[in-house]
Symmetry: C2
Subunit: 322 residues, 2 copies
């Protein structure tokens, strides 16, 4: 900037004015400055600008896995909103590891992101307290923060969706409905179990419930075990997209009614096509980002906690009779 100034024969501040489009610069002067900028290939050093202004025009996004379709869709929506507000996106994957989540969040804070959007892996977010007090707003998405943190949170209607799926299978005559869910320590998994259990009422049978990490072998074993019971399940409700796919592979042709939580690409091309409870990851990302930017523009109202609706998409697999 100094070089540009001397090349254009003006003071530093005048270059700064031109670069920032501030008013009160004579058009002729401005043109001279712009010419010098082009000639020298100057571009503003954002680091210095950030240091001086205290705002980075950057948003930090911590999700479970940047490569997972659900979170990738969420991230894309966040990016779109951030771009519209002239902000850049710094993103990282927690890999479902609370320590990594914390590290990412604190690294982002050290870089002075203006705000955070977090899909938490852990249940304790007291480490965020100082950052929040220091004025860095955070919005939680998909899962709530740990106790004691009163921040905006966008959740899907997990329990409602699970109940919807379960009632759908009940309505088609099933009374033995199995549930495969993710680790119950994960918020969404626990809520979905809750919805399933509530909808089932007295038909609930814990032998038809398996929860754990969705790798093929345990899922296959659990299914085999359930199908060997005296009164085996005639229907299956899977608690997330990965489990649906894993179960589909493990089932390999066995005729069981199936409803899965989360929609997935090609669900319509399978035979039978798969009935699902669909969430809208893009909407979740958009809502979270909009809440964040509302905070960034000064909103200090009480924390918002929108619950996003989910919908049942009947495609065939969920409409099979016992």
């Amino acid at each position: 900037m100094k070089d540009v100034a001397s090349a254009a024969g003006v003071a530093l501040k005048t270059v700064s004015r031109v670069v920032n489009g501030e008013p009160g610069v004579h058009p002729a002067t401005a043109n001279r400055v712009r010419a010098a900028i082009d000639r020298l290939g100057y571009s503003r050093n954002e680091s210095a600008r950030v240091l001086r202004r205290g705002r980075t025009a950057t948003v930090g996004l911590v999700i479970e896995d940047v490569g997972d379709p659900f979170y990738a869709g969420l991230g894309r929506a966040v990016e779109t909103v951030a771009t519209a507000h002239g902000h850049l996106l710094l993103s990282g994957s927690s890999s479902e590891d609370p320590a990594r989540e914390r590290e990412l969040v604190l690294t982002f804070c050290a870089r002075r992101v203006d705000g955070l959007i977090v899909v938490p892996a852990g249940r304790d977010h007291s480490y965020l307290r100082p950052e929040l007090d220091a004025g860095t707003p955070a919005v939680f998405a998909d899962r709530p923060p740990g106790p004691g943190l009163d921040v905006d949170t966008v959740l899907a209607d997990n329990a409602g969706g699970a109940a919807l799926a379960t009632r759908h299978l009940l309505a088609h005559g099933h009374t033995r409905i199995a549930f495969l869910g993710d680790d119950p320590a994960i918020f969404t998994a626990a809520r979905r179990l809750h919805g399933y259990r509530t909808a089932l009422g007295s038909l609930y049978d814990e032998r038809l419930v398996w929860m754990g990490t969705p790798s093929p072998e345990p899922v296959r074993a659990a299914l085999d075990h359930m199908l060997a019971l005296d009164r085996p399940p005639t229907a299956l409700f899977t608690g997330n997209g990965r489990l649906t796919v894993t179960a589909l592979r493990a089932l390999a042709g066995r005729r069981l009614a199936l409803v899965g939580f989360d929609d997935f690409e090609l669900s319509d091309l399978l035979r039978p096509a798969v009935t699902v409870i669909a969430q809208d990851p893009a909407r979740m990302g958009r809502v979270a980002a909009e809440l964040l930017f509302r905070r960034l523009s000064g909103d200090t109202g009480p924390a918002q906690n929108p619950i996003l609706p989910v919908s049942l998409i009947p495609r065939g697999s969920g409409e099979i009779s016992p």
Copy 2:
């Protein structure tokens, strides 16, 4: 940092030493400083550090769409390598728009990223020249840069993979093999057409080739048109994952042999299961990131241009006879 220094009764520089783990600080002093840091909840301002040191420990990633599975997988691999090198990832989607690509790259440069990984949307990258000369290395992935830019580039063996697919269908007795490809302005699409055409030799018939944006209606129309020909195709080679899926939907049960470029989730669960030419997006991301970090650690050797192999995965759809 100043506050920490006076709280601990030491000079600024001593705090700096402790924070950066520099040697030559008395353990007792260091402990006093650390106590002050904890008490005051101090965390280093990275913006200031960046300004002073000139390195941001940040890598910029420009891809077509953060939400696309192929690029999301590539991005995840880049993130892993960047994290291993203590770097953060700034990422953005170009949406196949050259202007947006340029804007993102230049924004990243203004933020002084240490290096760039770019999946280019445009064919002209002269705008990168000044940045490269200024010492910001760039690695291109999936597609090469425009003319005049001699930078590291990681590509897949597009032509080879297309030829492999075509020969596979020929070997199964097909002589009428159609090709659906992306817009030929896209590098990978052009290379795949080339491989297909080469493998087909004198059997090539331009009436069996359609290239364009893979939205459902045009693809359906093109297929209908081809199937109404005197000598209709008995096999189909689709030039990317989205086209494979689109074609599958348009085909809806018609018995045509099919090989698709790009593997996709659930390809094994369709009936027939889909034979594909598989790329490895994670490997592409990893190789690109490793090339970048080699440059960042001072390698000034000639530009590298690795071609990643692809492989044919026979699953059924490609082994159907005419």
